[in-house]
Structure formats: structure tokens, C-alpha cells
């Protein structure tokens, strides 16, 4: 089942899970995703070793969407 997770102080938190066939679940996940974007998080879909794509809308077909904080030079 696809998951939306956020990396945070607990390691990570699962914000939403959805089935492609369940519109209500997916809508709730979309709302959670937008809330995280508004809070400054960045959505990323890991695509196997060495590849990831940044997303600004929740992709229904992704297995895993991770919310990360911005990085900066130290």
C-alpha cells in the first residue's frame, strides 16, 4: 500500500496510506501532503538506487513519498 512519510525527530512518521481504488484515502493523503509542503517540507519519490524525483503533487501511483526538510551549505 502506498505511503506518505515524513522524516522527523522520531525517525519517520507515516502521515497517510492509500489505495489507488479508494478516492477518500487518496484525498486525505493529498491534504496531508499539501500541509507538509506549506510547512516547508519537500516531497521526494525514491526510484531505486541512485534516483529520486522531487514532486509538488502527490503521485497516486508512487509506492513511497518522503517529506524531507531543505538542506543548506554548512
Amino acid at each position: 500500500m502506498p505511503r506518505l512519510i515524513r522524516m522527523d525527530h522520531t525517525g519517520h512518521s507515516t502521515l497517510a496510506k492509500w489505495r489507488a481504488t479508494d478516492d477518500a484515502d487518496f484525498e486525505a493523503a493529498v491534504e496531508a501532503f499539501r500541509r507538509e509542503l506549506d510547512a516547508g517540507y519537500i516531497g521526494v519519490v525514491p526510484e531505486g538506487e541512485g534516483r529520486a524525483t522531487q514532486v509538488t503533487e502527490l503521485p497516486a501511483e508512487a509506492d513511497l513519498v518522503i517529506m524531507r526538510r531543505p538542506i543548506a551549505g554548512g
Binding site: H9, G11, V44, P46, E49, I71, G74
Partner: protein, 231 residues
């Protein structure tokens, strides 16, 4: 994928004055470091030799000059390698959870290496990356040089593995953008960097050098550049 894909890291907006990093710009930066190191070492070495030729009894001063010539690049390397030293709170309670997620992101080999050394190995177009909690080392194809980048998330409450996962995901999203956002700390010979790494981190550098040599063998000295262009 239906979602909007953005190949450029959003963090680039915070550094609009920086030119996007490329294989050529990183090579030029490496050469600059070589010139700088040479200019730092040569005057002291020349002074040591000159003094000895003029007056052999001045050898203690010559030894001090040679020590300076040795220490200056070592200090630069020490500062550079600092980017991958473990930093900040360890968050022992939640680290296993974060370690699990990071392990899912990494391949089997890299996962094992990261657990042993604290550095995650990533293969990129610019070379082989060793990603730590607050920075990364880049080994261009060939593995003789190491460039040190200081970059990380500002969230100190994150467990160490989450900090690494942040960097891995950003690197995978946009490698050149990652190298642009990061602050450049040092670039120099791999042997010099190895000496300044913690003993438990050295196997990661060895694995990175092996992989970087393979990249050079596979693609040739300029092959990786051709591959980057074709991508």
C-alpha cells in the same frame, strides 16, 4: 508519473549567485586547490633548502620550515574531512527507526558499508559520493582526488541516519544542484584525506576509491563526461 517533476533542487533558490556545479567546474576547483597547496608549501620548503645551503648550522630553522610545509596542507585536509565526522545529538532512541528507512533507500552493499562506517556510498555522474551526517566526499572517476562538501539539514532534532537520508535524497534528485548548494571545504589527494578520517570510516573511502577506479575504467577519463552530456 503524473506528479510535477522538477529536476532542480529547490534549495538552489537560496544561492542564486552560485554557478551550477559541473564536472568541469569541480575539476577547476580541484586544480585551484592543488595550486594553493603548492604555493603554501613551496616557500617554506625553499626557505629550508636555501637556509641550509647558506649556513648548514641553521638546520633547526630549516626543520621548522619543513614542518610548516607539511602541517599547512594537513590542517586544510583536517578541516575538509570534518564535514563527515559524526556531529550533533545521537538520538539513540529513534536512530534505529531512521536507520531502517535509510537502509531501505540504500542498496544492500551500500547499506552494509553505511552501518559499518557511517558513510553512505552513492554512484553519481560526477563520481562516487560518500555521504555523512553533515557533508559528503566526492571521488571523481579515478579516485585519486577527494573533494569535501559541507552540507546538511538544519534540523538538529533529526536522528543521524535521517540526516544522511536527507542528503542522499537531495543528491539523487539533482547531483549538480547538490554540489552547488553545498559549501566547498577542501579538495586534495585521497591519501591525505584518508589520514584524517576516523579509522572506522576508512573502509568507506577504500570502497569509494575502488568504485571510482571502476568508473574510470568503464567510461575512460572523459567517458563520464560524455555520459553526463548524453543524459
Amino acid at each position: 508519473m503524473a506528479a510535477t517533476a522538477e529536476p532542480a533542487l529547490p534549495e538552489l533558490a537560496a544561492v542564486p549567485w552560485r554557478k551550477r556545479a559541473s564536472r568541469d567546474s569541480l575539476r577547476a576547483w580541484g586544480r585551484l586547490w592543488t595550486v594553493w597547496t603548492t604555493l603554501s608549501v613551496l616557500p617554506f620548503a625553499a626557505a629550508a633548502v636555501g637556509l641550509f645551503l647558506l649556513e648548514p648550522l641553521s638546520f633547526p630553522v630549516g626543520i621548522a620550515c619543513l614542518a610548516h610545509a607539511w602541517i599547512i596542507p594537513e590542517l586544510y585536509a583536517f578541516r575538509g574531512v570534518g564535514v563527515v565526522r559524526p556531529k550533533g545529538p545521537r538520538h539513540a532512541r529513534y536512530e534505529p527507526v531512521a536507520q531502517g528507512l535509510l537502509g531501505d533507500l540504500l542498496g544492500h552493499e551500500s547499506r552494509e558499508l553505511q552501518r559499518r562506517t557511517g558513510l553512505a556510498l552513492e554512484r553519481g555522474r560526477l563520481g562516487v559520493w560518500l555521504v555523512g551526517e553533515a557533508g559528503a566526499l566526492l571521488l571523481p572517476p579515478g579516485g585519486r582526488r577527494v573533494s569535501c562538501f559541507c552540507v546538511g539539514t538544519r534540523e538538529r532534532e533529526l536522528p543521524p541516519s535521517d540526516r544522511i537520508a536527507h542528503l542522499v535524497l537531495a543528491l539523487r534528485t539533482d547531483e549538480e544542484g547538490f554540489a552547488t548548494v553545498a559549501n566547498k571545504a577542501f579538495s586534495g589527494a585521497a591519501w591525505r584525506v584518508r589520514r584524517r578520517l576516523r579509522p572506522e570510516q576508512r573502509p568507506a573511502l577504500a570502497a569509494g576509491r575502488t568504485e571510482a577506479r571502476r568508473q574510470r575504467t568503464r567510461h575512460g577519463p572523459t567517458g563520464a563526461r560524455r555520459r553526463a552530456v548524453s543524459n
